[in-house]
């Protein structure tokens, strides 16, 4: 479904990604881990269409990924993912309104009633039915991310992109969110790409785990080389050798930043 062919990305002199080749099938849950600045989020931006590849191709069903965000690719960011000026219910209803053509983005009459009913049932699924009239700033971090996920799903995306969605949450709440994401992934038959800093989270959630790292390193020009996918692990394969190799990598990285 998604395929990268010799994909490069640089910002000026800073090489972020180099020689990326991979294919991802529909329904996979790919988790992306790696040190900060290793191009995980850049890769997500390429999938999203807000950044374009510098060289090579990134294909969706054999076609280049559209060069702007669209409803086939949903996104949840770590923050700023929901609209702060709308109540929980409005956030979801607005998402429905955005799918209709028109200039105002408001719904009226029967369409509005339908959208409200649908929004309520979706919010029930993510456990927010008690907070319909609250504004995002009145929600906890976990509830806010639930809302962001509910909203993203309403667009009926084929691909769901998650950019460190649970990075700011407490461990207990994280576990709840993991269950929610896995349930929705199965129910909606999504293809998920999730950036995370937490390698355990990556193993727990993904069907496939990618480690982004720089293979070549020039200490005098740290930006000269980009990162590649150094490990592509089908999860399930959690044998000691792989884990140890990952640990060693993490160690060397810490020692030679």
């Amino acid at each position: 479904m998604i395929e990268a062919r010799n994909l490069w990305k640089n910002y000026g002199d800073t090489q972020v990604l180099e020689r990326l080749n991979m294919t991802v099938a529909e329904g996979e849950f790919v988790t992306l881990v790696g040190a900060s600045g290793c191009g995980k989020s850049t890769f997500l931006k390429l999938l999203l269409g807000v950044e374009a590849p510098s060289r090579g191709e990134l294909l969706l069903d054999g076609q280049p990924i559209p060069d702007e965000p669209g409803p086939d690719r949903g996104i949840v960011f770590q923050q700023y993912s929901v609209f702060p000026h709308m109540t929980v219910l409005d956030n979801v209803v607005a998402a429905r309104a955005f799918q209709k053509p028109g200039v105002s983005g408001f719904l009226f009459g029967a369409a509005k009633r339908d959208a409200i009913d649908e929004a309520k049932s979706l919010l029930e699924q993510v456990g927010l039915s008690h907070a319909l009239d609250r504004y995002p700033h009145q929600l906890s971090g976990g509830m806010r991310q639930r809302l962001a996920i509910a909203q993203a799903l309403l667009g009926k995306p084929r691909i769901l992109l998650l950019d460190e969605p649970f990075g700011a949450l407490d461990p207990g709440i994280r576990a709840d969110m993991h269950e929610l994401v896995l349930k929705l992934w199965r129910d909606y038959k999504l293809t998920v790409f999730m950036v995370t800093h937490d390698i355990k989270e990556g193993f727990h959630l993904g069907t496939r785990l990618w480690v982004f790292d720089k293979l070549r390193h020039d200490p005098h020009a740290p930006n000269a080389y980009g990162a590649r996918i150094t490990y592509d692990i089908p999860v399930g394969q959690r044998d000691d050798v792989t884990l140890e190799a990952l640990d060693n990598d993490a160690l060397t990285q810490r020692n030679h930043p």
Binding site: L48, P69, I75, S104, Y135, A152
Partner: protein, 273 residues
């Protein structure tokens, strides 16, 4: 002993400290006024409270001998009408211009440099042009206020629009929103409270332009009156008028601040979501 930088006044202390400078200024004025009037009962420079009260009573509650108007209220109504009209026009133009310029990079490229240059033109220098083009009537005064503060509001709204996190725009697009829907439902509502903030900040200049225009060409208005009675050294009218203008400015500012809290409860609280 606590460090000075850690000492904070309580509620009563804050009120007391806040009112103290006002009381001191008032006492200083009354003392000086007494001293001067003692020396010369006809002194006009520092009139007593009674003199100011009598002068204001004449203007506010006695019909004018010339045309039967209650001058104080006529002045207030004319000035407020000019000010509010000018500010409203500026707010509307500034909002549309700033929002579109901030939201659409193509418009930004076309309008932003012009806006920067225009905002550097001193509005008062345009007043003669306005008088020549639209005459000495109401239009020129309203236009001066509008022209004077529109660039400020437009630039402020432009910047605020660009400050809205890109994530929200991306999110809206992934939900299928087109450009118009994104502007109307994501940007516009979040800009409105910032528009009110911008209007609050520009009211000061608004008053400045109003009084300047009234001083030069008007037949009524708060600014007209104080410049008129200046010829007779009527400090007993000028001082209360200045206080009244200050009070009006204060009330307008507070009304806008309250309106912001009331209309947009999400505005102050949540910037982190």
């Amino acid at each position: 002993m606590k460090r000075l930088i850690n000492k904070t006044p309580g509620l009563r202390g804050r009120w007391l400290l806040g009112l103290l400078p006002f009381a001191l200024l008032l006492a200083l004025y009354l003392g000086a006024s007494d001293v001067r009037l003692e020396a010369n009962p006809n002194d006009k420079l520092l009139p007593s409270i009674e003199q100011m009260g009598a002068a204001m009573h004449n203007l506010a509650f006695e019909p004018s001998k010339r045309n039967g108007d209650y001058l104080f209220w006529v002045d207030t109504a004319s000035s407020l009408q000019r000010l509010l009209l000018g500010v409203a026009i500026a707010a509307l133009i500034g909002l549309v211009l700033g929002l579109l310029t901030g939201a659409l990079p193509l418009v930004t490229a076309g309008v932003s440099p012009l806006l920067t240059v225009v905002s550097l033109v001193p509005p008062l220098a345009l007043l003669p042009i306005l008088f020549i083009v639209v005459g000495l009537g109401e239009v020129s005064k309203v236009a001066l206020i509008a022209i004077g503060i529109t660039p400020f509001i437009a630039r402020d709204i432009l910047r605020r629009t660009q400050e809205i996190p890109a994530q929200q725009l991306i999110k809206a697009q992934t939900l299928g929103a087109n450009s118009a829907q994104t502007i109307v439902r994501v940007l516009l509502p979040q800009i409105l409270p910032r528009l009110i903030d911008a209007v609050r900040l520009s009211l000061g200049s608004g008053w400045l332009f109003l009084i300047a225009a009234e001083a030069i060409a008007a037949t009524d208005g708060l600014g007209y009156r104080i410049f008129l009675v200046r010829r007779y050294l009527s400090m007993d009218i000028i001082l209360p008028y200045v206080a009244w203008i200050t009070l009006l400015a204060f009330v307008l500012d507070q009304l806008l601040a309250r309106a912001n809290d009331w209309l947009f409860p999400w505005h102050k609280a949540g910037h982190e979501s």
